[in-house]
Symmetry: C2
Subunit: 356 residues, 2 copies
């Protein structure tokens, strides 16, 4: 088979631990399916700040550009929280998204059967919840001009939210395309009753909608969406929205499933290239203890197989293996009911590899 280059960025906190298990899974698919992966490893985030004085070293970026896909653990931690902006892990995150043109963040929020009770929502409300939040990732208020100036009322800070039609079109098209492959329902979230960018967003959605006559479109105001996610989560299929709203709503959606420690995400650009990472963070409080749950990262590999590499069968095998291991009752501490029976990161990874 063709050699696929995977850029592996372990990052900070539990990042290296969970990524190590995902690498085992990659290796196992080589054996099972004859794939060939060439892994390159790079520094990114806090560790890159410590070792190289910048959260996103050029060679890490170059490594990503050479690769077919990027696998990312997690970045950040209190150690770097009070650094100046250019020495913060988040700055690296925003930088890599922009530099690699990853304009679309895809986050499936699904409920794992074995974790149904972990949600703070009632099981009957959660029943059937299976939604995807597609968040615009390289525009809006995240990337517009930001500055300070003096005013009559003390210092003044300014952030600018900008969207052009091209930026909106490409993410909206993706929303429709993903919806077409699912339950054919697209909720476009904006604040069109207040924001000009939202009005352009909504007009663009309405202009594009006739190209996807089989998809039912609903416009939802962001405040209302924050409510409806709680009231009727299972009624959503695909949600598409701008950067800032997507940041908030995708976290809300992930948390309501109760499965946040198991969720994976993809950041995509034009073409098949993508960056894959667990939704959870770097969890500095449990880093280095060998107790982190590697499943979200392992499932990120499955997502990479599906969305970038087209290795559908192997993706199925990984997802089934995870399911089987969970069904057999194995749990890491974060998802264990009886914590005394919890297994560690490596044990969980090994079990999944064995089940493949």
């Amino acid at each position: 088979a063709e050699v696929k280059k995977i850029a592996v960025i372990a990052g900070d906190g539990i990042g290296p631990e969970v990524v190590a298990e995902a690498e085992k899974v990659l290796k196992r698919t080589e054996e099972l399916f004859g794939y060939q992966f060439e892994l390159e490893r790079g520094l990114f985030g806090g560790i890159a700040i410590d070792e190289r004085g910048t959260p996103l070293p050029d060679d890490t970026l170059e490594m990503c550009r050479r690769a077919d896909a990027v696998l990312l653990g997690a970045v950040g931690g209190p150690k770097w929280d009070n650094n100046p902006k250019e020495l913060r892990p988040e700055t690296g995150l925003l930088g890599i998204r922009k530099a690699l043109g990853l304009f679309s963040n895809i986050r499936p929020a699904v409920v794992f059967d074995c974790l149904k009770d972990a949600s703070t929502l009632k099981p009957e409300v959660l029943e059937g919840t299976d939604l995807i939040v597609i968040r615009e990732l390289t525009g809006g208020i995240y990337f517009g001009d930001k500055f300070r100036r003096d005013s009559e009322n003390g210092r003044e800070a300014v952030d600018t939210c900008v969207y052009n039609e091209t930026e909106i079109e490409r993410i909206v098209h993706q929303g429709f395309e993903v919806a077409q492959k699912r339950r054919k329902k697209l909720a476009s979230v904006d604040k069109a009753n207040v924001l000009e960018t939202s009005r352009l967003w909504r007009e663009t959605v309405n202009r594009i909608a006739p190209e996807y006559p089989d998809v039912e479109v609903e416009h939802v105001l962001v405040d209302n969406c924050a409510m409806q996610l709680l009231r009727r989560p299972s009624s959503f299929d695909v949600i598409v929205t701008e950067n800032m709203f997507g940041d908030i709503l995708s976290d809300e959606a992930a948390m309501l499933t109760g499965s946040i420690g198991m969720l994976s995400s993809a950041s995509l650009g034009e073409g098949s290239f993508g960056l894959y990472e667990p939704v959870h963070g770097s969890a500095p409080d449990i880093a280095g203890q060998g107790i982190a749950n590697p499943i979200a990262t392992i499932l990120s590999v499955a997502l990479m197989f599906r969305l970038t590499l087209g290795y559908e069968e192997a993706a199925d095998v990984i997802e089934r293996a995870v399911k089987n291991v969970l069904d057999a009752g194995h749990r890491t501490g974060d998802i264990a009911v009886d914590k005394s029976k919890a297994i560690g990161t490596t044990a969980m990874g090994d079990l999944i590899v064995a089940a493949m």
Copy 2:
């Protein structure tokens, strides 16, 4: 007693019906406590668009300026949704906030005992939830420059988020003051890892915090707050945040209590003047049927008594009357378990008046 002027704005949809019941409650407190209210009524929102060609007629604004407090029903409806901006109810809402200097929106999110089961959250998670969201209401991206322009990538829309120190200080002080009267915990919500306005916000909070040594301050990122509200709602006491984040989080917080139809809100400026309204909207689908729940509006009167007029005792009487009527099993359709036993808007209002 001194005559208090109350500007009454019934508005659209169920607004007139629920406000009529709140007026009965006002009248009853005149009898019970010897208060004197002078009510003036004005047009606002959709009905003002229809009758006067503008959502916020000058005489309505003047009426509010003359008053000690404003009681608002609800505005808006599908009829005006596709109007141009200057002919939309929301424009009136933003206009009245700005014109009256109502920079602070206070929304208590409490769980009513009789509605515990109405929440989609598990009762044990909700247990003890009693929080207040204080939202900055006249700044930020709502009021900054908005415009369109041409770009290389089609049309481009711009919204500007601006905050100066004075604007942040006054709302943050209010957050601390409210927290001091409660459980002394303030969560300041921002996106300081991305936004310049949020960094100025956080610096300002940190600068002011030493003036309130008895209040414990926590900085929470907005995406994390959207999650924590779901995970540990009862751990929050007072949340203070900027306009756009407050719009989203206050709706999320209200919905998770399950009591959204019962929640009231206050919009305040400098001094004691305030505008009081239910959190729920104009519910055009049930307007004119006499079935709307007037409790949120009646409780808005109690809030007005507390925060603007200093009529604490009467506020207690109203709140106790509501509780007694609910404890006796009376329900409007929206909160009835057995819908066939539901009572109407007027009957609910009369029962509460009788219980006072």
